[in-house]
């Protein structure tokens, strides 16, 4: 039960942080909101008993990808965006209402599909979500996809070097 309360709490903060990222007028502010959002998502994984995925979420997304984002913001010297002036309250109201209905419908669909975290799914996740059980299937059953990921990462490396070093040195 506590896990479910935490789930909804973290989900709310995650959505709020996402909105903060979109509405923030300062690029670094946006990046920081996104970091908060990533932490909440890591927390969500934790409530689902997937501690390995939760830590990797922070390690890769917050620790590596967001650092790159910050670099880009600092390198490009992005200016502070102009303030949003005229908020059309009618649109805001309509949007909120529409999203509310959508959320309600998704909740109904989700609960009928039985995908909300519960005792059984949490126990199952603890069994399959650990680093060891993940490794066991990743390096045997999914060995070929793993090598393909390796090639994808290689392509990313070469692409980055090509873009940054266009002229021969």
């Amino acid at each position: 039960m506590a896990a479910q309360i935490l789930f909804f709490l973290l989900a709310t903060v995650a959505i709020a942080a996402g909105l903060g990222m979109l509405l923030s007028r300062n690029p670094v502010g946006s990046a920081l909101w996104l970091v908060l959002n990533l932490f909440c998502i890591a927390g969500l994984y934790l409530t689902l008993n997937a501690e390995f995925i939760a830590v990797v979420q922070i390690l890769v997304y917050a620790g590596a990808i967001m650092v790159l984002f910050l670099f880009v913001i600092m390198l490009l010297n992005l200016d502070v965006l102009p303030e949003i002036k005229d908020i059309e309250w009618k649109k805001v109201f309509g949007f909120t209402l529409g999203m509310g209905v959508l959320g309600l419908l998704s909740f109904v669909v989700a609960s009928s599909l039985d995908i909300l975290p519960n005792e059984i799914s949490a126990r199952r996740a603890a069994e399959v979500g650990s680093a060891t059980s993940l490794g066991e299937v990743l390096f045997t059953q999914y060995a070929l996809p793993l090598e393909v990921i390796g090639i994808l990462l290689l392509a990313a490396t070469i692409g980055a070097v090509m873009l940054a070093k266009r002229k021969p040195v």
């Binding site: 390995f52 922070i58 390690l59 917050a62 650092v67 670099f71 600092m74 650990s130 680093a131």
Partner: protein, 343 residues
């Protein structure tokens, strides 16, 4: 592991205070040791042999004005030292001080440690960006590039430890080094290259000399903390000392037998009453602090002995030497383990 929550809370409180006090002791130790190395007396006015100097410094820093440069971002300017202190203090939760004496005994403890290390880049980068000063920004950028470069080799050194121990839990990693009278079983002897890489990267991650380019007084004034004054500067200072002390603890935990007392099994069989008693735990805590104290001394010793790297040397060392060596080390250790097991 049914530890009541108030016991964990008490332990966490003790650990935070222990780190605070040890930081001030280390500041004093660093100033005294550097003074001895440079043949001068060092702090000797406040308290007996100057021992109260760090406390006087804290009082002074608290009473100083907090200056925020114009056009700086005041919120981020405060957030950066805040993050540094929070991350440095939180890492202490993962240290196994003795068997069963650890604030948070997590199943993926090693990875949580690495995740916290990777987040501490933010503190320095944001400090550099938010100050609106050229020195700060350069220091912040340099430091971020340095920390992420060495984080990879650190991660790979940890992978080689995980391979040997077969677990991600820090307590179990310590217990896996209990062979060979709790001395020859240390990962230092089973994985010397990994140990060397981890110690080097620990210096780089804590921004200590010879990797202190982010602050490089002679060229960047103070680097990322040029524009910090008063207690905010004090927080960076505190975080630096807590960081390298905690790093010493993790060097010991991963490679030097952690809390295991050398010849522990002989000691326990000689004095059977000790087995499982609180005295054994106390002895283990003392052993761990002694071992970590040695590495804290190493951090200080190196700082006052070695000159700083040039930036291109730093990048060359990180990417062209440490990373390939760490990768090969991981594969070789895996090969050795599997050959031992198969034949």
């Amino acid at each position: 592991m049914a530890v009541p929550w108030y016991w964990s809370a008490l332990l966490a409180f003790v650990v935070v205070n222990f780190l605070l006090i040890s930081a001030s002791v280390l500041v004093y130790a660093e100033r005294k040791i550097s003074a001895a190395m440079q043949n001068r007396p060092g702090p000797n006015r406040v308290g007996p042999v100057g021992f109260l100097q760090p406390f006087a410094d804290v009082a002074k820093l608290l009473l100083k004005e907090n200056i925020v440069p114009y056009l700086a971002n005041p919120f981020v300017h405060s957030l950066a030292p805040f993050l540094m202190v929070v991350i440095a203090m939180t890492t202490g939760a993962l240290i196994p001080f003795a068997k069963g004496v650890v604030v948070a005994d997590l199943g993926v403890g090693v990875l949580v440690l690495l995740a916290l290390t990777s987040i501490s880049v933010y503190g320095i980068t944001l400090a550099g960006w938010s100050s609106n000063s050229k020195f700060s920004l350069l220091g912040g950028l340099r430091s971020a590039a340095q920390m992420i470069s060495y984080e990879l080799s650190m991660g790979l050194a940890v992978v080689s430890v995980i391979l040997i121990a077969g677990t991600l839990n820090l307590t179990e990693i310590v217990e896996s080094q209990a062979g060979g009278m709790s001395l020859l079983g240390w990962n230092l002897f089973r994985n010397p290259i990994g140990a060397t890489i981890f110690i080097v990267t620990a210096f780089a991650e804590t921004n200590r000399t010879p990797f202190d380019l982010p602050e490089a007084e002679q060229e960047l004034v103070g680097g990322y903390h040029t524009e910090y004054s008063g207690m905010k500067f004090g927080m960076f200072f505190l975080a630096e000392y807590v960081n390298f002390f905690v790093a010493s603890f993790f060097i010991v935990t991963l490679f030097f037998g952690g809390y295991l007392i050398p010849f522990q099994s002989a000691l326990v069989s000689a004095v059977p009453a000790l087995d499982g008693s609180i005295w054994l735990s106390l002895l283990q805590v003392m052993t761990l602090i002694l071992k970590a104290g040695f590495f804290a001394y190493l951090f200080i010793w190196v700082r006052w002995t070695l000159p700083r790297f040039k930036y291109n040397q730093l990048m060359t060392l990180g990417w062209k030497y440490l990373l390939p060596i760490a990768l090969v080390n991981v594969l070789v250790i895996a090969l050795i383990i599997s050959l031992f097991r198969t034949f």
